[in-house]
């Protein structure tokens, strides 16, 4: 199924997706933040891509932790520690593994979400990346428990993430830079939720074949 090679591939595709959407994510952030989310993540994932060759043959835990540490030390801002912690926590749970079961995938996303909550002290509904990640995680879990194929389950998860992003348009930000806007943050989608959603899109696309 998903071996370490594939994990590296997925991460490369995430980096590509972020790079393609660098401007879009930045523009979203300009509207309710400080206009750097795409720039930040792109800088970080480009560094990740440079780093990957050094760990590509290692276990998945090491790969994910390396991604996390690289993000922490190159992204900065809010999203650096958050995504960095997410990957680091996920990696810690995959120590030594060279292949992932579907249950591992659930663990990875669960640990990532927990890492983000721990570091950012946010809850769902505060207009952050959690509003994409948590619903996506729940749908993925439900679908897999129901016995859906991974492909279908990831499809539904991506939809849930997309709905989560739509939902962020309707709420006031109470965490992150957009919170300074109060009411004025309504109507805008959260950049972090959007980048998280893109990661689910990549996951889905990568597991279609």
């Amino acid at each position: 199924m998903i071996n370490n090679e594939k994990v590296v591939l997925i991460i490369q595709k995430i980096a590509e997706k972020i790079h393609e959407n660098r401007q879009f994510l930045t523009d979203l952030d300009a509207a309710i933040g400080d206009g750097d989310h795409g720039i930040n993540l792109d800088r970080g994932f480009q560094a990740v891509v440079e780093k990957l060759p050094t760990v590509k043959d290692k276990d998945i835990g090491t790969i994910l932790k390396t991604v996390g540490m690289t993000l922490v030390s190159t992204v900065g801002g809010a999203s650096g520690p958050l995504y960095g912690t997410a990957f680091m926590k996920a990696g810690a749970a995959m120590n030594g593994k060279m292949e992932l079961e579907t249950s591992d995938l659930l663990t990875i996303i669960d640990e990532a979400a927990k890492g983000i909550k721990m570091r950012g002290k946010a809850e769902r509904g505060e207009k952050t990346m959690l509003d994409a990640i948590e619903p996506a995680y729940e749908v993925l879990r439900r679908e897999l428990e129901k016995g859906s194929t991974l492909k279908d389950a990831l499809d539904e998860a991506e939809n849930a993430a997309k709905e989560g992003v739509e939902y962020t348009k309707t709420i006031i930000a109470t965490k992150g830079r957009a919170s300074y806007l109060g009411e004025r943050s309504i109507g805008h989608q959260d950049p972090g939720a959007t980048s998280s959603m893109m990661i689910f899109t990549v996951l889905k696309e990568s597991c279609e074949d």
């Binding site: 300009a30 400080d34 930040n40 922490v72 030390s73 900065g76 809010a78 650096g80 950012g120 300074y180």
Partner: protein, 330 residues
């Protein structure tokens, strides 16, 4: 985008090199890290580290030196520095008496500096932190991230730095920093936006007739947009917000900072001060010291912030104490 730069991705590095080349008697750069520390490290005192995204020059490297900071960490433009950079700064400046981190209240800054503090503590370095949140434009509440840290941070650097220089303990330096934070309020406004070099276009747009009230120092939207008004009217609005959030009575003493955002002519800052001074004086408030200039900027944004710090005998004496840094000298 019209800028005197080479490659956008190199602005931070070239800027720091330019600072060190100009002011080698004040600061040096840690090799491989975007960190400025004092050219002559002073041992056996509490060390102060601040920093944040770049684009706020002279903050924060301009405040490294005798009587103020020991180290300044420069992130990418408008982006909090990463924990490893902050960690390097902590290690470099620690003189055995512990390190105080002065953080502006942004989610990113708080998280990155916190992670650095965790790393430092694992190495046995005593670290304390204070979070500056002086911007009255933003409604703070327990359930949000609270107010932003803006130009008032410079007063925290100055006063805590003066106490550290005198040999006070980490606990004492932290306490006075918190006292400054509790007593300082700022409000800003912008006439024009600013452009992050890597973004290549302005973070927001303002028409020829508009200004943004309550702007943040990263060009974050403020409280509202309105038609551009007379300087005196703008000052009245800002002072209303600031004084409405402070407990000031006649004969209280304050320090004032009229801070330009980088693209504001000094002429306009002094015109602003002219009325700020009148508003305070009319209320019988005594202005002990006034600072006018670019202290906490937003690249080339035009506009200004007004900061009022309520003083007591301790903070007044520390504000007046000698400071000798690139951008702040008393």
């Amino acid at each position: 985008m019209k800028k005197l730069i080479n490659k956008p991705e190199n602005v931070e590095k070239e800027m720091l090199q330019g600072i060190v080349k100009a002011h080698g008697e004040y600061v040096k750069k840690l090799p491989d890290f975007n960190v400025l520390v004092r050219a002559n490290k002073k041992e056996n005192k509490v060390a102060l580290v601040s920093g944040g995204g770049s684009g706020h020059e002279p903050a924060h490297g301009g405040f490294v030196g005798e009587g103020m900071l020991d180290g300044a960490v420069a992130g990418a433009v408008f982006t909090s520095p990463t924990p490893d950079q902050v960690f390097e700064a902590i290690k470099a400046v620690d003189g055995g008496q512990g390190v105080l981190l002065i953080i502006k209240n942004y989610t990113g800054d708080v998280m990155n500096f916190e992670m650095a503090a965790e790393m430092a503590e694992m190495e046995g370095i005593k670290v304390e932190k204070v979070v500056v949140n002086d911007d009255v434009a933003v409604e703070g509440s327990l359930y949000t991230t609270g107010r932003r840290g803006v130009a008032g941070t410079v007063f925290v650097h100055k006063i805590a730095g003066a106490l550290a220089e005198k040999g006070a303990s980490l606990e004492e330096v932290k306490t006075v920093a918190e006292k400054v934070i509790a007593n300082v309020r700022t409000m800003g406004m912008a006439l024009t936006p600013c452009t992050v070099p890597a973004a290549g276009k302005p973070g927001f747009e303002l028409s020829e007739q508009e200004m943004e009230m309550g702007i943040g120092i990263h060009g974050e939207p403020g409280t509202h947009r309105q038609a551009i008004a007379l300087a005196d009217e703008i000052v009245d609005h800002m002072m209303g917000k600031i004084l409405g959030d402070m407990d000031l009575k006649a004969n209280d003493e304050v320090a004032v900072m009229i801070n330009g955002f980088g693209g504001t002519p000094l002429m306009e800052l002094y015109i602003v001060n002219n009325h700020v001074n009148d508003v305070l004086t009319e209320k019988g408030i005594k202005i002990h010291k006034t600072f006018v200039g670019n202290y906490m900027t937003s690249i080339e944004m035009a506009g200004c912030s007004v900061t009022v710090l309520k003083l007591d005998d301790e903070t007044k004496e520390l504000l007046d104490a000698r400071a000798n840094t690139i951008a702040f000298r008393v």
